[in-house]
């Protein structure tokens, strides 16, 4: 990472360290050989660094830790490394917990996780929200279409509420009345179909005794037109 041309003094430092590129080094060689002042500055810099390095070597040598102490320090470090290596591969979550804390996910994960949580909560609520109760007016008008002259069954509403059953009964009664005179046979078919449907509903209500439910069900009624 550089910020432009090197300062002349810094370039001298790089030259002294032998880290100048070949082209620049050759240029410095020429300048040093022809400029006494530059050569004197280079010598001073060389002496300064030389004295420093010599002093550091002597200081480190005189303060060198005894082999025993260094050995103990190295042993402590290597033992810690072994224990750390075993913990990394251990299945014990409690030991791994500190590392998990140290290795947190990046910050952008948290808002995305929050959005996903809110989205899933909304989807779950929308999917399992209770059906709104339908009023009597809605049940009597929705989904009920009277069949045509071919005697086809009229569509009945999909709800199982008692109000829907009443409207269904009225619908069938009306249909039956309209076809009685025109076709007695067809009227009888409708009547039997009505009974079959009621029987099916009663069976769905109680599987133990469908006949009992059939006769005890107040909504059941025999045809009044017979």
């Amino acid at each position: 990472m550089t910020d432009g041309p090197l300062d002349p003094t810094w370039m001298l430092l790089m030259y002294l360290a032998g880290e100048l590129p070949p082209k620049q080094r050759a240029e410095m060689d020429r300048r040093v050989s022809t400029d006494p002042a530059l050569r004197a500055e280079l010598d001073e810099l060389r002496a300064l660094h030389g004295n420093f390095e010599a002093g550091m070597r002597e200081m480190d040598a005189s303060a060198a830790v005894r082999l025993g102490s260094e050995g103990m320090a190295v042993a402590r470090i290597t033992r810690a490394m072994r224990e750390h290596g075993v913990r990394r591969e251990s299945d014990d979550d409690s030991l791994l917990l500190p590392r998990r804390i140290l290795h947190r996910p990046p910050a952008w994960v948290y808002p995305i996780a929050a959005m996903l949580l809110v989205g899933l909560t909304y989807v779950g609520w929308w999917a399992f929200k209770p059906e709104p109760r339908r009023t009597v007016a809605e049940n009597s008008t929705s989904g009920s279409t009277v069949g045509g002259g071919d005697g086809s069954l009229a569509e009945r509403p999909s709800t199982n509420s008692s109000s829907a059953n009443e409207s269904e009964s009225a619908m069938f009664a009306e249909l039956e009345q309209s076809f009685t005179d025109a076709n007695p046979t067809q009227a009888q078919s409708l009547r039997s179909l009505r009974l079959d449907e009621r029987e099916a509903r009663d069976l769905s209500v109680s599987r133990n005794d469908p006949l009992q439910v059939l006769f005890n069900d107040p909504s059941f009624e025999t045809s009044t037109d017979e």
Partner: protein, 201 residues
């Protein structure tokens, strides 16, 4: 886990020094990545002196071993991220190791904050009382003056100076490690040398 335990349970005999010297740092790191803790032992011993001294000069004797241990544990944690080929162009394993140590020292400085500067003067006295600070009394007067002068340098200058001396990294690599321009790294180095010269007079 099996590999880690295997490397622990099977105590290989101490390898001859010539074998340890011959094996390169990168080769040892590759072994360490596979769970061979013996390779880690070799690396720790090989770099104990320069790395310990480097951390001591920057962070002080009291916390040097702790930071040194943290450095090697971090080496273990990130062994799989060490790319020998990529590191070769940037100073190799040594530069990578000192980069980790520098980060640990920087973290220590940040955690200490202004408290460190407030106790700067006390630290020199406190170091004398530490059991391993005997070197301070054993060295010559000139050596003690040099040590005191180093400790009086600003953190940024001392860091470049010690990093250059103990790691042998090139100035370009030092600048990249510290995240500063090359001119800045060279300037800090030069100013540190001049200040040491003045303090040693």
């Amino acid at each position: 886990m099996t590999a880690a335990i295997k490397s622990m349970s099977v105590r290989e005999p101490q390898q001859p020094n010539d074998v340890a010297v011959v094996e390169s740092d990168e080769a040892l790191m590759l072994r360490l990545r596979t769970g061979d803790m013996g390779a880690g032992d070799v690396l720790v011993k090989r770099y104990y002196q320069p790395l310990a001294r480097y951390i001591q000069r920057l962070a002080g004797v009291q916390v040097a071993e702790e930071l040194l241990q943290q450095t090697w544990l971090s080496v273990l944690d990130h062994a799989d991220k060490f790319d020998p080929q990529a590191a070769a162009g940037g100073g190799g394993f040594k530069a990578w190791l000192f980069r980790i140590a520098t980060n640990k020292v920087n973290d220590h400085w940040r955690s200490r904050g202004r408290e460190r500067s407030a106790t700067e003067g006390l630290r020199l006295i406190y170091d004398d009382q530490m059991p391993h600070a005997g070197h301070r009394l054993e060295g010559t007067e000139q050596q003690q003056k040099l040590l005191a002068a180093i400790e009086q340098l600003p953190d940024s200058q001392r860091q470049v100076l010690m990093l250059r001396y103990y790691s042998g990294m090139k100035f370009v690599e030092i600048a990249a490690l510290l995240g500063c321009p090359l001119n800045t790294a060279l300037g800090r180095m030069h100013k540190a040398m001049l200040k040491l010269k003045d303090l040693m007079k």
